[in-house]
């Protein structure tokens, strides 16, 4: 009998230990991208434990889910997604499989980071098929504008405060620190990019409208004829002709696209292909949200300088 009670007690202890492997303290936050993870760390500090699902060098439209993803989502207190249909191909089944009621869309533990930010390319009025490829909810690559980053951080601050009211002041303080740090960095970036205002460039995918708008660059065309569709000859020829006509020299490419067509176009127009990091972790130096912009802005400015000097 004593043996039985003891066994039961041990079993109960083991169950408790297994059920709560990470301890009670930190809120477990899971984000779909490393950009959101970086912002959540800025605001949450040591009150949160943050993990990102997709790596920064992966195309966030197409992520091959791994078993650990389900486990992470199943244990999350808060799931932060980019939204705007960016993760539509892989996130919804993960959320369902996780059977975690807290983080289902609409529940208190689900945060769509795109709610309060400035979204570009939202079609106005009725969408018709004649308009071609239109994303009904707008361009999902909105985090590449520091002002949007600030708004995402504010959303995260509000959500964390709601989930953990005792730490409200802590999150507010950390947000203010980040806000200041970001504002200083923005002055630096704006100064670096100021000489190139109005420069026309081409990008591969429509990942950069927010970034380019912020720094005053004009995206005059895309290597892809439509998002997700490989380049076609007539589109490529048109693009080359247009680039020659306008004297456009720079093609910005995300790390996960094939460089052959962009390189061929660059050779034709005597320009250059530049791989920028669209996400934290997309390059070694882009270790957090601010370093991401440091990396991209410096690289872009030095490349534009080279091209302009020719």
């Amino acid at each position: 009998m004593r043996l039985l009670t003891r066994t039961l007690m041990v079993a109960a202890l083991v169950t408790v230990a297994l059920a709560r492997p990470q301890g009670f303290a930190a809120l477990k936050v899971v984000t779909t991208t490393e950009d959101l993870a970086s912002l959540a760390r800025e605001v949450g500090g040591d009150k949160v434990q943050v993990d990102a699902l997709a790596k920064g060098y992966q195309d966030p439209h197409f992520v091959d889910p791994k078993p650990s993803f389900i486990l992470q989502v199943s244990r999350a207190d808060l799931l932060i997604a980019v939204g705007r249909e960016l993760e539509i191909g892989w996130l919804p089944p993960l959320i369902t499989s996780s059977r975690n009621a807290k983080i289902q869309p609409g529940a208190s533990g689900y945060l769509d980071a795109s709610q309060n930010v400035r979204i570009l390319e939202i079609p106005s009025g009725q969408i018709t098929r004649a308009m071609g490829d239109v994303h009904p909810s707008g361009n999902p690559h909105y985090w590449l504008d520091p002002d949007n980053g600030r708004k995402i951080a504010a959303s995260i601050r509000d959500k964390l405060s709601e989930m953990s009211p005792n730490d409200k002041a802590y999150f507010a303080q950390r947000y203010n620190d980040f806000d200041q740090k970001l504002a200083e960095a923005q002055k630096r970036w704006d100064a670096t990019m100021a000489p190139f205002k109005g420069t026309k460039i081409v990008t591969y995918h429509r990942s950069w409208p927010n970034f380019m708008e912020r720094f005053g660059l004009d995206v005059m065309g895309y290597v892809e004829p439509k998002p997700g569709i490989p380049p076609s000859p007539s589109h490529t020829l048109e693009l080359i002709a247009e680039m020659k006509r306008l004297g456009v020299k720079l093609i910005v490419v995300e790390p996960y696209f094939d460089l052959k067509t962009p390189q061929a176009i660059a050779n034709q127009v005597g320009g250059k292909v530049l791989i920028l990091a669209p996400s934290v972790g997309g390059e070694k130096e882009a270790t957090d949200y601010i370093h991401l912009f440091d990396y991209d802005v410096n690289l872009l400015a030095s490349t534009l300088k080279q091209l302009g000097g020719k």
Binding site: P67, L71, G89, D133, P227, G228, S232
Partner: protein, 288 residues
């Protein structure tokens, strides 16, 4: 090792076992007929149907997309059944290869003209075994059970046509008709499986167990048994490796299939020699 993960993997594991069950059987026919790539071809033709439905303006998930891909699958089945009847000296595999290439390219062309959903069409058509949900598992199980019963009822007819179609035709039976039934039911299965598990994985479930079984046995019965055991073991092992090493599940199972086949080939001398000693191999060889 964190075992709690497996409670989330029950649906994928059951799905992979269902797929292993029917594909190991169909694979025997496919290998016997020498139409190895017919599944890729039919799956691609089904995708073309779905792509055309999207191009026509149907939203993702609309039933019309499914019916359109089904119609295309049946059309493909019809074409493959007709080709075999021809006496032209064109290998059937060549036609299958051509259909695959043309259908794949036509999907790209259709998507380039389709608005909106193009970017996500790929996800719709090519599934990921890890993301499979219970309702899909049950529906798929029910459909495969129905098709399995159909094949079990007519197993002799299907088998004799797969092994020696000319002899069956000589008896005055319409091989084209039965071929159409075979490719149509096969197309139904493959289209569903690809939507759940993706092209690579479905190809492996179809071909690798029957090839592995051919290494060890000559008769259909033992081959089927070996194929099933192999399919089940590889599914579970692959799932396990995927968890332990945290790798994408589908690709891990595919590579596990490859390794399992190599192991089976290496063990073949042991298995076959022992069988030969007991005289089994000669007896079965005579049956073939």
């Amino acid at each position: 090792m964190d075992w709690t993960i497996f409670q989330f993997l029950v649906a994928p594991i059951v799905a992979s076992l269902i797929i292993a069950g029917i594909h190991a059987y169909l694979g025997l026919h496919v290998v016997e007929r020498g139409v190895i790539f017919v599944d890729l071809s039919l799956a691609q033709i089904a995708s073309l149907g779905a792509a055309i439905a999207v191009w026509y303006g149907y939203e993702a998930g609309a039933p019309a997309i499914y019916w359109m891909s089904l119609a295309f699958t049946l059309l493909g089945a019809f074409v493959f059944a007709m080709i075999k009847g021809q006496d032209a000296h064109i290998p059937q595999e060549a036609i299958i290869g051509i259909s695959y290439a043309v259908a794949s390219a036509a999907v790209i062309l259709t998507m380039s003209k389709a608005s909106g959903e193009a970017e996500h069409l790929k996800d719709m058509l090519v599934g990921n075994i890890l993301s499979v949900q219970w309702p899909e598992v049950w529906l798929t199980g029910a459909i495969y059970l129905a098709i399995g019963i159909f094949h079990w009822v007519f197993r002799k007819r299907f088998l004799e046509i797969s092994i020696d179609a000319k002899a069956v035709a000589a008896r005055g039976i319409s091989v084209r008709f039965w071929d159409f039934l075979f490719y149509a039911s096969f197309g139904l299965v493959v289209t569903r499986s690809v939507a759940i598990a993706g092209v690579l994985l479905v190809f492996c479930y179809l071909i690798v167990p029957s090839v592995g079984a051919m290494l060890w046995a000559t008769r259909i019965g033992p081959r089927l048994a070996i194929g099933w055991v192999m399919g089940v073991l590889v599914s579970i092992l692959g799932m396990y490796f995927s968890v332990v090493l945290d790798l994408p599940t589908g690709a891990t199972i595919v590579c596990t299939f490859g390794v399992a086949l190599i192991v089976m080939a290496l063990l073949r001398p042991l298995v076959v020699r022992r069988a030969a000693q007991s005289g089994v191999i000669q007896a079965h060889g005579a049956v073939r």
